[in-house]
Amino acid sequence: MLSKRTSQAGRLIGLMLIVISAFTVFAQDDAVTLDVIGLTVPPDEIGTPLDISRQEFITDFHEANPTITINAIEAPPEFDTQIIIDLAAGTAPDVWYQGSGNLPNLVAAEGILDVSVCLDLVPELTLDRFDPNFLSIHQQGDALWGLPDGGTPMVMYYNPETFANAGIDEPSMDWTWDDFLTTMQELTLDSAGRNRLDPEFDEENIVQYGFRVRNFLFEWIYFVWQNGGDVISPDGTTVDGYLNSPETIEAITFLRDLVLEYGVAPSPSALDQLNQQFGFLTAFLQGDVAMFARGHWEMVGLRNNEIYTEDRVNIVANPRNVEAATVIYESGWVLNAALADDPVRLEAACTLIEGLTDVQFQSSKVISGLEISANVEAAAAAVEVSEYPEISERFVMALADGRADYATRFAGWAVLVEEPINLMMENILAGGDIQEEVDITVEEINRELERANR
């Protein structure tokens, strides 16, 4: 009997121990370490302001959330390859910084999480902090694939000195294709200072070109949009009736003619020469080419250039024709899909991306000058403190006409659609027949799209 009682007591104590230990385990479980890619810098940038702001964020965040530790992992080389392998093996980080052009691929691979769950878990996280242009990139139907961090619309950089050389006014933010073409003709100068509209113009001695035309779709897709055309159907299933529509062909012809007909943009080989001889940015800053299309990040390259001066760089929105349009490139924070199975870690990760996108951290990293913050408040503050306020303001203005890059909408875009179109344009700029090139490309892309949407 006695033995039975003691055994009962033993059992009771055992049970209590289990309960206690369960609590301690639970308490320990509360402390999580999140693997994060995107909060470090390459070794040669250690100690730069960007690095310091990220370091401070990590420390401050841990202080504010003692149970969450951030394990900041360096971004490996060949990141987009690595992440897909990591997802396959289950070694991907919990949270990472991702160019939004990869979102559809990651969604198709079921590698990332719909972060709308975070809105319930972390009440401080509200979507009104984001610029709708950036936010919409992450919204697909009811799903929210990550949170926007920042990005840029494509704009036109110009060198004011080249306008002075040509004796014309600088462009205005609401200029049109007609203004654009005339400006380009007036900007293209020979060694005697005559412009393209001068019948005496000397073809052999061009010292200043108007614009840079390249084959890459990301530098001209908005010309198609401006003309009321498009390259692909809204549902992404066909390019027939879009890439070969009259509006699109007209836009392509307009661009080709800048090189081959009007001669206001260097031919691909002339452009190669400039690139090799000086590097393109130097060629631009010394006035060899007056304008080129690019995003916010180019400010960094330009300001680092030896011959940079403030008077040599300004930007203007893209010209409009039927409508105003440009394309937006953006990056954001995404969560590993595997977090869905672990509520504690999920909540920690949600707290983290709330912190990463709030005004404080977003304001501290604008110094990098690479992009516009997706946080509206931080973006507005950035214009105030900018070293080039006029340019910063114009970037924010240009954002209003921005549309999402199609890579953020359709899986496999880069390989299935963009690359064939780049090749098509390369052939057209080399003198290929437009209709013929477009027809082949439409057939080829549609074949791929049919398979992809099977």
Binding site: I37, G38, V41, P42, P43, D44, E45, I46, I73, E74, A75, P76, P77, E78, F79, Q82, I85, A88, A89, G90, T91, Y97, G99, Q276, Q277, F278, G279, W297, E298, V300, G301, N304, N305, E306, S331, L370
Partner: protein, 282 residues
């Protein structure tokens, strides 16, 4: 080679030297350019006209390489990984090569064709399955994960097999009559006789391991496990992808990476020659 002295010996010699010097020039000029680029400050690499000889002597890039990353640790990792890979390749490949070249067993030819066939698959396509296997073995972030997948190579087996086949059959027969076991024949006759071929394999596997990037990229996750090439590749990685490549730094990294391999080659070259004089074939 002993050639008789002929009247045209001298012109031939001059011709030989001219050819060698011409080829040597074509080989060396790009490297001088590489070294001089690594001594330029960042941004000055594409000056026009191109400057072949160093115009500046800026050791900043080298200093950065050694101070910004735990260079000693990377170096040690690389040496460990390379040593065991080369050692393993020489042993495992030569054993298989001996069997394929000199032992007649059933299924040998079929197996050899299967081996050869694996050389024809582009590595990129088995990358993911291979990683999944190594991951399943729990070898991510370990030395064995870095070493064992590279410890044998079909190329090495093929190379050594060709060399072993050229050894006269009498050597093998004589040893067998003396009662030597196959292992003794392999170890005491075939390995010493094929010094140059083994050295060639050693140099190639050394080189391949020393400069491999793709595999360490997947396996070495912690900074402590990184190899030299991988550590240097991090200089070139930026998530934003908007930054311009710092070519002088990349060139300095390339010079640093190349030097040990060059030293090993110079050492092994001496061994080729010794191997030939030891071989007894001459």
């Amino acid at each position: 080679m002993i050639y008789e002295k002929k009247p045209w010996d001298l012109p031939l010699k001059i011709l030989g030297y001219s050819i060698l010097c011409l080829v040597a020039l074509a080989m060396i000029v790009p490297f001088i350019w590489m070294v001089s680029t690594s001594l330029k400050p960042s941004g000055a690499e594409f000056a026009y006209p191109p400057q072949i000889l160093p115009t500046s002597f800026n050791l900043e890039n080298y200093k950065n390489l050694f101070t910004l990353v735990p260079f000693g640790r990377y170096f040690l990792n690389t040496i460990i990984v390379t040593f065991f890979t080369v050692f393993g390749q020489i042993i495992i490949c030569s054993m298989a090569a001996y069997a394929f070249a000199r032992l007649k067993f059933i299924g040998r030819d079929v197996l050899f064709v299967l081996y050869l066939a694996t050389m024809m698959i582009p590595f990129q396509i088995i990358l993911i399955p291979l990683f999944l296997i190594v991951f399943g073995l729990g070898w991510v972030n370990t030395y064995q994960g870095l070493i064992i997948p590279g410890i044998s190579s079909v190329f090495g087996i093929f190379l050594l097999r060709q060399a072993f086949m050229s050894v006269p059959g009498d050597y093998q027969d004589a040893a067998r009559i003396d009662g030597a076991s196959e292992f003794v024949i392999y170890w005491r006759i075939f390995l010493p006789l094929n010094g140059p071929a083994l050295a060639t394999l050693g140099v190639f596997s050394f080189m391949g391991t020393w400069t491999d990037l793709l595999w360490p990229l997947l396996i070495a996750r912690d900074q402590d496990m990184r190899t030299l090439e991988l550590g240097l590749a991090y200089f070139n990685s930026s998530l934003s992808a908007f930054q311009q490549t710092n070519w002088p730094l990349v060139m300095a990294a390339a010079v640093v990476l190349m030097l040990p391999v060059l030293l090993v080659y110079i050492f092994a070259q001496r061994y080729f020659i010794e191997g030939i004089s030891l071989s007894g074939v001459k």
